[in-house]
């Protein structure tokens, strides 16, 4: 830690290698069609990878606030909702708006970033693709900004509260937002309780040829890339002077204040940055599920992310990422078999029926919380620089 000249090349190589690996993984079956079904872009493997990439960004952003600054906030789903809606509203193409908002007689907000850039660069071919990418990127950044701005506004009253009170206030904020976004009066903007769809999703990033056949799959690579960039920014922040100040606030507020660290502005900073990335994560989530609907952003979603943070280790970025991949893989894929009747030979395995997965899942989580309360990583990190064997940071995916 003390040496200023640290060689970060191995870390950069590992991350770049991982991203290239994702591209290869999702395209390998189009080159070698004899590979098993699992490498098909439609298989659960890629669903898990996409969802986990999105969730790991939100988990890391929550860890920044709860784990590194010691502010126990439960508003993550609310900020995701803001991000998801901002992204959706800003990118639905104008020609689809009337169709999406048909219950409210069209959208009050006709602007779309994708259209805007298509107007500049052109609507088809490579210029069209560039317009879409640019439009999505700017919409995602704005999604984060809107979430961050709301965090700034509610931060003034809320950040004066401590621990459980802060948790209750932020949870309440998220629930209020969910209700407001389902309000019929706001229909022309939020489409009421109905979903907004028609905006570019992850599969819009697949490169196709003229006839619409996919040449290069990028639908898993895109969330990985965006998450990686965001997580790298968060890690850089955590390792900077500000990150140290955040940690000091977590350790001992009174000492931090006595050492000249402005408590309120640092808490606010952490809150806004965390919400910014939750907002970006919300935008990504909308891309993942291909719609934006307030109903999805329940407090259950916050708890899910909190659980991931706890399982991974509070105060460990790599722990959060590993835990996200494990958690999502378990809930979306590995434990799915528990939900249907299974036969071993002629013997019907008892208990297995719809819903049993959640029972097993709850037990596993209880065991983790009871016996491994520090989580997978505790507060340690995987140092990619010191790895001899280049294990992936996101090893949980396999």
């Amino acid at each position: 830690m003390t040496t200023t000249k640290k060689n970060n090349l191995p870390t950069i190589l590992v991350i770049a290698g991982l991203l290239i690996f994702v591209i290869i993984l999702e395209n390998i079956r189009s080159v070698f069609p004899f590979l098993p079904q699992i490498f098909d872009p439609m298989s659960p493997l890629f669903t898990v990878l996409k969802k986990a990439a999105v969730y790991s960004l939100v988990a890391v952003s929550m860890n920044l606030l709860n784990g590194f600054t010691g502010l126990f906030s439960l508003g993550q789903a609310g900020f995701m909702l803001l991000g998801a809606y901002t992204y959706a509203i800003l990118t639905v193409p104008a020609e689809l708006k009337d169709q999406v908002y048909y219950l409210f007689g069209g959208c009050a907000f006709q602007f779309s970033f994708v259209d805007f850039f298509k107007g500049i660069f052109g609507a088809t071919g490579v210029p069209g693709a560039i317009s879409m990418v640019l439009g999505c990127l700017i919409a995602l950044i704005l999604a984060g900004c809107v979430a961050g701005f709301f965090a700034f506004l509610i931060g003034f009253p809320v950040l004066r509260l401590k621990s459980d009170y802060l948790a209750i206030a932020t949870l309440g904020f998220a629930e209020i937002l969910r209700a407001i976004f389902q309000w019929q009066r706001l229909g022309p903007i939020t489409n009421g309780a109905n979903m907004i769809k028609g905006f570019p999703t992850f599969s819009s990033f697949n490169i196709t040829d003229g006839s619409g056949r996919v040449v290069l799959q990028l639908s898993t690579f895109v969330p990985f890339l965006i998450t990686t960039v965001c997580v790298v920014i968060i890690v850089l922040l955590i390792n900077s002077s500000y990150g140290r100040a955040f940690k000091s606030i977590r350790d001992d507020e009174i000492a931090s204040e006595a050492m000249g660290i402005k408590l309120f502005s640092h808490k606010m900073l952490s809150f806004v940055i965390s919400s910014f990335f939750a907002g970006v994560g919300g935008g990504l989530f909308a891309m993942y599920v291909a719609n934006a609907q307030a109903k999805a952003f329940t407090s259950t979603m916050t708890y899910e992310i909190l659980l991931i943070v706890v399982i991974g280790g509070i105060g460990s970025v790599s722990g959060s990422i590993i835990a996200t991949f494990l958690y999502v893989a378990c809930s979306e894929w590995w434990l799915r078999f528990l939900d249907s009747e299974q036969y071993i030979g002629g013997f019907k395995v008892p208990l297995l029926r719809n819903g049993f997965r959640m029972v097993v899942f709850s037990v596993v989580i209880m065991i983790i919380v009871l016996f491994f309360s520090k989580g997978i990583m505790g507060s340690r990190e995987i140092d990619l620089n010191s790895l001899f064997v280049k294990k992936d940071k996101k090893k949980g995916q396999k």
């Binding site: 850089l236 500000y242 140290r244 001992d252 000492a255 507060s379």
Partner: protein, 286 residues
Amino acid sequence: MGEQAVKNALHIENVTMQFGGVVSVNNLTLDVPEHKIIALIGPNGAGKTTAFNCITGVYQPTNGLIEFMGKPMVRNFPKGKILKNYLGENAGKYKDLPVIAPTPDEITFLGIARTFQNIRLWKSMTVFENVLTAKHMRAKQNVFSATFRGNLSEEKRMREETMALLSEQGLDEYKDELATSLPYGLQRRLEIARALATDPKLLLLDEPAAGMNPQETLELADFVRTIREKYDLTVFLIEHHMDLVMNISDYIYVIDFGSEIARGLPQEIQSNEKVIEAYLGVSDEK
């Protein structure tokens, strides 16, 4: 108050701190001249730490004025319901002047650093990080330049200064250990090093010798003198340990039940009747 020939680093005037119906500090007036080591002593519960907390902004005094380097830093007067229940003196003295209520970080920024009676190091951090983090206040960078490494020379400067500070204090061999894993005496020393990292002009030490053995206490006295010379500091300390106080103080204030009962040079205090009484109690035969 005081001769103007000597410049006061800290000037406390009529400071009263009242919690509900309890007056913890009553009409305290004292001066801490620059480059001197001044001690505030008194039996348990005399209000010494409360006085410190008033100076460092943890508490807003109910009444009184605190000046730092000749400028008013804290000022308050009792008003409303508090005035009705006010038990102290000089209630109206600062009534017409604006209230000044800085937060602890603002006071630290002015140049007053402190240590704590019960050590408050950041426990998840190493020795090195503890001192480095205290440098954050004066770092010339914002959150963007810090995150995107726009100002690497500033970070480098902070790290070098931290390293220099640690080797001066003889803590460099422990730099990568967790702060809380150090022996008690070294933790105290680390707390002082951390306070020094904020570039203070006035150092407030809250019972620096608490829990130290005689050898460590002796070293501490030398240590405090050394850092005063080296960093051109003024030191104001609270202490129970009479050997240490008599050894290093230039001037001593004694308080009991929140009020000053004596002030003077160490020899004078040692023979002061009231002080002996406060510390040992009154004998029954008298």
